[in-house]
Amino acid sequence: MSSATALSIAHVLAGALVLVSFMMLYQDRLSSVINVLALHAAVLGCAVGWQAYIQHAPELYITAGLALGFKAIVIPIALHRIVERFGIHRQVEAVGGISLTMLGGIGLVALSMVVMLRTAAHADALAREDVALALSVILLGMLMMVTRRNAVSQIAGFMSLENGLILAAAGAQGMPLVVEISVAFSVLIAFIVIGVFLFRIRERFDTVDSTALDAFRGEAS
């Protein structure tokens, strides 16, 4: 296979990740947010797997496997169970309108393209495109986190942000510790999800809407 084809496939997969990030932005029900999150992780798994193949970096297959197994299957199942147990699977929540959020998202993607393609002008093509698209995914993840108030969709936003980071790390050829970093992130996500379970935010606050938490600020008196 020519290197141009290899590059194009990597490019398409990374672009697909940005597209799925956009899909997540306009989901208004929690269960569909979680489904899109699973798709996001699956696309990431393919993108990283492809990187492992074209870079001849077998250790990246571990990262890809982690994305496909843990983030695309285990975590979404756990989140679905949280949402069901809390009885909020139909909850609609978004701050501001969907169209406004989408416009903001387009702006962020444009920004990251302009910034990264210029700054990484001297890096090799694969790394440059990957980092630019990865920054778009990261910024879209942050947008998701700030436009949603619900704890579960904030987790979804954070996970998509983190998927963008893994994409960037895999694209930076030969970067050491990528596998270790992806494992560390998976542990972090597991902690966050278990935290929601263990701290029983639902039981204590009667909602996982984090605006309700504001009432408990120590200085509310």
Partner: protein, 482 residues
């Protein structure tokens, strides 16, 4: 002797790691508290060995003049805090705020946090440093939520989410720095080592370094509590156990700043990049003014001192932003003095909150009459943190303002005004807390005063007469920082 020195480097993370494992299974909390102290003493002993036998940099570890002092400071404050923690948790058990099961978890997490911070300090590798900061953050998140009250759960949730975003951005910055270094240093570990990066800084891609530094400043700046990424800090300080407030303010903020400093060193060596100082001055002044104004409206005593930490992080970022030999010396001194003073204040405040059964400032008055020891140490601590002579913070702030006047008078005026604003708020609160008629409802309390006196004693000593070797060390590191 290099073998011994290398073992000592490993020991600074191996001892707390082993201790964490043991403490997780020790059933008796008294024994656990003692073991916690012993592990902390052993860790600082290992760090002290490095003063005499410094190993050559390896792929993973690097001990140089910059990090050795932070390692020692980490060991020292970790040690005194473990002493304070032993007497603090005894009271928490009596009042039923904590159960022995949670304490086992608490002690193990305390040592995990030390592992994370020490790893971030001694490593030669950008990725490992990132991992160390993440580990320290996660363990403190869990300790902040340990009381399981709605307020503490909110605080730890907020800390977790903001901290995770910070960590993520810092990693993106790290990847960009790697990309900048890859063409020069080749793929693999070599392009992620501090020792190599500094050496080849001039050849690195400046555009990538610039953007990378912005991400790193925002990412690690979140951990350091710089405005506008500070929102987690007051909650985490106020709602967690007080020993954790002391190490958060005293150590974790320093470790995050240390990470920023390392990257700034690389940028300073490369002349094609933007001036990182301007960004740090801007963030620093913003933090200083924001925190100084917020100090006036605080009703919670731990929140008050948490905002004071933001204020000091702002001053420190400003000092390194101004840079130059004097600015850097002032910044380093301020970092040391702030961490010693602030942890001493939290030791006092922890016992005060236990003695009074509340953290509300309005419900605490006349401490010097009702609890002379705690009251007067708090007076001394607040005087020190507000920057009154003869304490060490006066020295560093004076140095900073005078050196800034010589280079940028307008900035010096702004800085001085910000410090005075904070000074006013702190003194105002201190007079109501410590003087006047004592408020009702206090419990007897057996305070451990040794850590408080030790910290304030050092701050006083350095304020009165800084030892020559310390000044020489500061001057040397200041030139490294550029």
């Amino acid at each position: 002797m290099n073998g011994l020195a290398f073992d000592a480097v490993i020991a600074t993370i191996a001892i707390p790691a082993a201790a964490a494992g043991i403490l997780a299974v020790v059933p008796s909390w008294r024994l656990a508290a003692r073991l916690n102290v012993i592990a902390s003493v052993l860790t600082i002993a290992a760090a002290c060995l490095l003063l005499w036998h410094r190993p050559a940099p390896t792929t993973l570890f690097l001990i140089d003049d910059l990090n050795i002092v932070f390692l020692l400071l980490n060991g020292f404050v970790g040690c005194t805090t473990s002493l304070f923690s032993a007497s603090y948790i005894a009271h928490e058990l009596q009042t039923g705020h904590l159960t022995p099961r949670y304490l086992r978890f608490y002690h193990a997490m305390y040592q995990v946090m030390m592992v994370g911070m020490n790893l971030a300090l001694i490593t030669n590798n950008l990725g490992l440093m990132w991992f160390g900061v993440e580990l320290a953050t996660l363990s403190t998140v869990m300790m902040v939520g340990i009381y399981r009250t709605p307020a503490s759960i909110e605080a730890s949730w907020k800390y977790l989410i903001l901290g995770s975003v910070g960590i993520a951005l810092a990693l993106f910055g790290t990847i960009l720095v790697y990309l900048a270094a890859k063409p020069v240093l080749g793929t693999g570990m070599a392009a992620m080592q501090w020792s190599n990066l500094r050496h080849h800084a001039a050849a690195l891609d400046p555009a990538l370094l610039n953007v990378g530094f912005i991400f790193l400043l925002i990412g690690y700046g979140t951990k350091a509590g710089l405005v506008p990424m500070h929102a987690w800090l007051p909650d985490a300080h106020a709602e967690g156990p007080t020993p954790i407030s002391a190490v958060l303010s005293g150590l974790l903020l320093n470790v995050a700043l240390y990470a920023i400093l390392r990257f700034k060193m690389v940028l300073a060596m490369s002349h094609a990049t933007i001036e990182p100082g301007i960004l740090m001055i801007g963030v620093g002044l913003l933090s200083l003014f924001f925190a100084a104004l917020m100090l006036y409206r605080r009703r919670d005593i731990k929140r008050l001192f948490a905002y004071s930490s933001i204020e000091h992080m702002g001053i420190i970022a400003f000092a390194f932003g101004i840079g130059g030999p004097l600015g850097n010396i002032a910044g380093l001194l301020q970092m040391m003095m702030h961490s010693l003073t602030k942890s001493a204040i939290f030791f006092s405040v922890g016992h005060i909150a236990q003695a009074k059964g509340t953290q509300k400032i309005a419900a605490i008055t006349g401490l010097t009459t009702s609890h002379p020891l705690l009251g007067w140490t708090l007076v001394a601590g607040v005087a020190a943190i507000a920057g009154l002579p003869p304490f060490g913070i006066f020295t560093s702030e004076f140095l900073l303002i005078t050196s800034t006047f010589a280079r940028a008078p307008v900035l010096a005026v702004l800085l001085g005004f910000g410090i005075l604003l904070a000074f006013g708020a702190l003194l105002l609160r201190m007079t109501t807390l410590c003087f006047g008629a004592p408020s009702e409802g206090s419990h007897p309390i057996s305070a451990s005063s040794v850590p408080i006196f030790l910290h304030l004693g050092i701050v006083l000593l350095i304020g009165l007469a800084m030892p020559a070797f310390l000044y020489a060390w500061f001057a040397h590191v200041a030139t490294m920082l550029g």
